[in-house]
Amino acid sequence: MAAHPIVTGGLCHWFGEGEARKQALFDIDLEIEAGKLTVLVGASGSGKTTLLTLIGCLRRVQTGSVRLLGTELAGAEEGLLIACRRRLGFIFQAHNLHDSLTAMQNVRMGLDVHGRAAAENWQEAARHILTLLGLEDRLEYLPGNLSGGQKQRVAIARALVGNPDIVFADEPTAALDKASAMNAVDLLKRLGAERGTTTLMVTHDSKILDRADRIITMDDGRITGDSG
């Protein structure tokens, strides 16, 4: 197994067909270390989210290589991609909670994916992670009755409850107040230190940049700066 959980080589990506085909990523070579909080920054349209979704198995690799936790994603079968996704945690810009499920049930969805054995003590696990995020008195609320920040914290709980090896986060703190955002980032950093959880985050939040272990700057589909 590769030493680094994320290794890309010569990664390129295009959007559109024919005349409208436009290259979004150019020869991305990247190695990301385990247990660290790595932040991607750059102007909108610079390819940050595209890179994040390629590494996170949310998009098929077109050209180049992505080795995720030792598995090559280029040309991988759907079954293999599904298996990889289960080792990851996703936090999206929008919370994407299911509005018919309570906070507890939404978090449970992050456990159920690992099978019945993993979900056996789901209530305990879900309550624990929601409490860590300060939602202990909102457990049985439907998303419609939660504030934007509370919903985002439920989404973070859903991403973390399955003990992922890597957490991908796309502007996760946009809907959070400052204290909640710091709480979430501290939680991610603590997971990195305790369990070796790797975090790759796209953000503009300067407070988070201060706490990042490494900052990668992108511009126009290329890596232009790397603090690591």
Binding site: T53, R85, D99, M109
Partner: protein
């Protein structure tokens, strides 16, 4: 309900929670499925009534085999048959007896000037052509001229008429320039082509229909000796009788052929068959509409689940859960309303509309399959897409 489904499925019953979250949509969807069920059950009811009523007259015959003209499709059509075939048939080993049956339609004018159509059966009063004990008890009386027995289930007859006949008050009416005297009743029930039945002697029959001859009956009713092999006798009769003018069938075979002809060749059967197809289509479209809207509304959530690592079969199971719930919830009111309508309609038109267990289970099973197909179509988009493109 939620707890029950959770135990059943071993996961959060997302389908049910999703459906019950939007009550208006659930009510509309259930009403749509119920309506489709009602449509199908009513058409099947009529279809079943058609098939059932075709059988009624055959069930009356005291016969094991029937000889008819080779061009006969239903009981009431086809050419007459040479009576010679009956005498030839009597010579076949295993045949115990045979009697000719003459058939025609007769107009029965009502006091208000409207007409009822009766199927008239002319039989030899000395032979037992029928099984019905009510007919057999009065056979001797039929040997007098212009005497008849009438079907008391005849549609739209004057009120109290049959009761007064049964009480001994003979009823006379004029038809074909003669006066018929109805001295008794029996219960059979008319089908789609006639309102009821009339039984007369063969002699009365020839007076009513002077162009019909004793030498040319419509059917020959053949009875077998006890212990005779029907298939062997059937083969013997078929070998003996020329197939250019006569056909020999068991009663069941004749019923089946008649039903098949009336359901596939006659407009009435095709109309009901078509109605069933329309009902199924309406149901498919309604359920597809509901489920595909539901999938589209939850595309972000499903995409998130897909990103987390749920496989396609997980989404299929949510959709099947929804489809199953809609099918069952829609079936209950659809079934109850159609039971009520069966009762009302069979009272109104004297047709045998009856709910059968296979029909009810068949429609329920069909609804579940129909809903599942709709659901499967609705999730196709989800199966192909990159999760990242769905947000």
């Amino acid at each position: 309900m939620t707890a029950f489904l959770e135990r059943l499925l071993g996961r959060v019953p997302i389908g049910w929670l999703q459906l019950s979250h939007n009550r208006m949509r659930l009510v509309a969807a259930v009403a749509g499925v119920a309506f489709a069920n009602l449509l199908v059950l009513m058409q099947l009811g009529f279809f079943g009534a058609l098939i059932g009523s075709v059988r009624f007259p055959y069930d009356q015959f005291n016969a094991d085999l029937l000889i008819s003209a080779s061009d006969m499709n239903t009981l009431t059509d086809g050419s007459p048959l040479p009576r010679q075939r009956m005498f030839e048939a009597l010579a076949v080993p295993g045949v115990a007896g045979a009697t000719p049956l003459y058939f025609a339609k007769l107009d029965w004018k009502q006091p208000d000037g409207t007409i009822r159509t009766l199927d008239v059966f002319g039989v030899d009063p000395a032979a037992r052509a029928f099984r019905n004990p009510e007919i057999n008890a009065r056979l001797a009386d039929l040997s007098m001229s212009d005497i008849a027995l009438i079907d008391r289930k005849t549609r739209n007859a004057p009120k109290g008429l049959f009761a007064s006949i049964d009480a001994g008050q003979a009823y006379t009416f004029e038809t074909k320039g003669r006066t018929l005297k109805v001295i008794g009743t029996f219960g059979v029930g008319g089908g789609f082509s006639a309102d009821g039945e009339l039984v007369v002697s063969d002699q009365t029959f020839f007076k009513l229909f002077p162009n019909r001859m004793a030498g040319a009956p419509n059917l020959v009713l053949v009875r077998l000796e006890p212990g005779a092999q029907p298939t062997r006798v059937l083969a013997g009769l078929r070998a003996l009788l020329p197939d250019y003018d006569s056909a020999v069938r068991t009663v069941e075979e004749a019923v089946w052929r008649d039903q098949k002809f009336q359901t596939t060749q006659r407009p009435v059967g095709i109309v009901f068959g078509f109605g069933v197809i329309i009902g199924i289509l309406v149901g498919l479209i309604i359920v597809y509409q509901v489920l595909s809207t539901d999938v589209a509304d939850h595309m972000r959530e499903y995409a998130t689940f897909k990103a987390i690592g749920y496989p396609q079969r997980f989404f299929m199971s949510i959709i099947f859960e929804e489809a199953f719930i809609l099918a069952v919830l829609g079936f209950i009111p659809g079934f109850l309303i159609s039971l009520l309508l069966y009762f009302v309609v069979s009272k109104a038109i004297s047709l045998p509309l009856a709910m059968t267990v296979p029909r009810a289970l068949g429609v329920l099973g069909g609804t579940i399959i129909m809903c599942s197909i709709s659901g499967a179509i609705a999730t196709r988009k989800l199966a192909r897409a990159n999760p990242a493109d769905l947000f």
